[in-house]
Symmetry: C2
Subunit: 269 residues, 2 copies
Amino acid sequence: MASSRQPIGVFDSGIGGLTVVKALIEDLPSESIVYFGDTARVPYGTKSKDTIVKFSLENVEFLLRFGVKCIVIACNTSSSWALPTLRKYFKVPIVGVIRPGAQAAVRQTKTGRIGVIGTRATIRSRAYEAAVHRIDPSMKVFSESCPLFVPLVEEGWLNGSVCKAAAERYLEPLKRQRIDTLILGCTHYPLLAPTILHVLGPRVALVDSARQTALEVRGLLMGTDTLRERNARPSYRFFVTDEPEQFAGLSRRFLERRAMAVEQVNGHP
Amino acid sequence: MASSRQPIGVFDSGIGGLTVVKALIEDLPSESIVYFGDTARVPYGTKSKDTIVKFSLENVEFLLRFGVKCIVIACNTSSSWALPTLRKYFKVPIVGVIRPGAQAAVRQTKTGRIGVIGTRATIRSRAYEAAVHRIDPSMKVFSESCPLFVPLVEEGWLNGSVCKAAAERYLEPLKRQRIDTLILGCTHYPLLAPTILHVLGPRVALVDSARQTALEVRGLLMGTDTLRERNARPSYRFFVTDEPEQFAGLSRRFLERRAMAVEQVNGHP
């Protein structure tokens, strides 16, 4: 039986999942978290379904060693392709970021015209279309993969001519479709929000799965009676497969927190 | 004892190494080749020295199973960081792309002002500076990492506004240093040559290690008496760690050849 003291396990292909960790910390401040970032094999979004599923299985196995009470896949690519397989292999409750994002978008849209942007793998999976249509089959969903957005964020080029030119090129088809809501289907993309709004215009609402995912985790913990008492003191542990220094540096951009202790896992989980 | 019939082993983090394979096929048309592309863990250029060395050791171990007579590291990042360690661990002769590129640049320059561009890991290693200065300590070397160039090539955006804006931003400091020769220190970059020349001007000579590396391999095979007879019929085998389809598709851009058989290696070598 899971106890409320057990930590929440979170994994991502690298660093982007920290935007989800940030939302979890804000929303569930007494919960302990174990984060696993597969920085030696990042990115997942350019890779095949089989490879994404294989890596995701290994990541869950790693987190289970810490007795986590639930697992959050803080990675759109992995949520898109691996969630059904992970749920089949493991008994621990697993939350992905796709359904929360789809739900927030359906709630947000007024015209029923929703855009989705993500990595090549996420868009190819059509997971967001399926999730949106499961909630409301009348919605129109338009998708575009934006492979350069992750490298742009990791380069720190969040605006300026290169970023704007790339955003214009990727978002032009969505603009033509007159979407009124855009799902940021990759945990890196919220950092590009100002540039994306500059291209699409201020009337388009941007949906970022992080907050909605935190709400879903809260619901899960309440439902399984494993929500931790309010005044408990949380602990945070961060593990990466590549060297910790780079992660610790980049993490400030995502987490908006001071330096934190990051441990390296030797070899793959 | 190595025999001339044994294949040449070539590895890269992914697909870029095929530009080196192309030069090997042109220059040594009777040699058989076994290529290994670590497409499940690509890229290496954003990762740490330890991870690059670890992956490279595994890649060599994989190629040794085929009884290769020598190994070519067709990856600047891996050549920069892993070559000394690989030479320490393995008896098989190993050729990297750094010294050949440095040699070609020193031969090419008239003003002694050489630029180098590469991934973040390659530039951080300062391997090209060291190699150039070992040949001629009077040379001035100016380096810039260009992390977006690989994603741009893989996106197929070889010119156009995004590519030009990125090239201008990365190459501006080298332009200011009035270099007359630029080492393309990443196997993807030759595909950006027209855009790079557009920014730097037609007077700057671009040096691509591929051809020079093939010459060094020829020299090695002659020196060890393992050059294959001229009219022998070569065989080519390609292995990747992610799914073969994407590799086979992208490979046409690099190899300028028709479809080829690509095999997947399950799990890591």
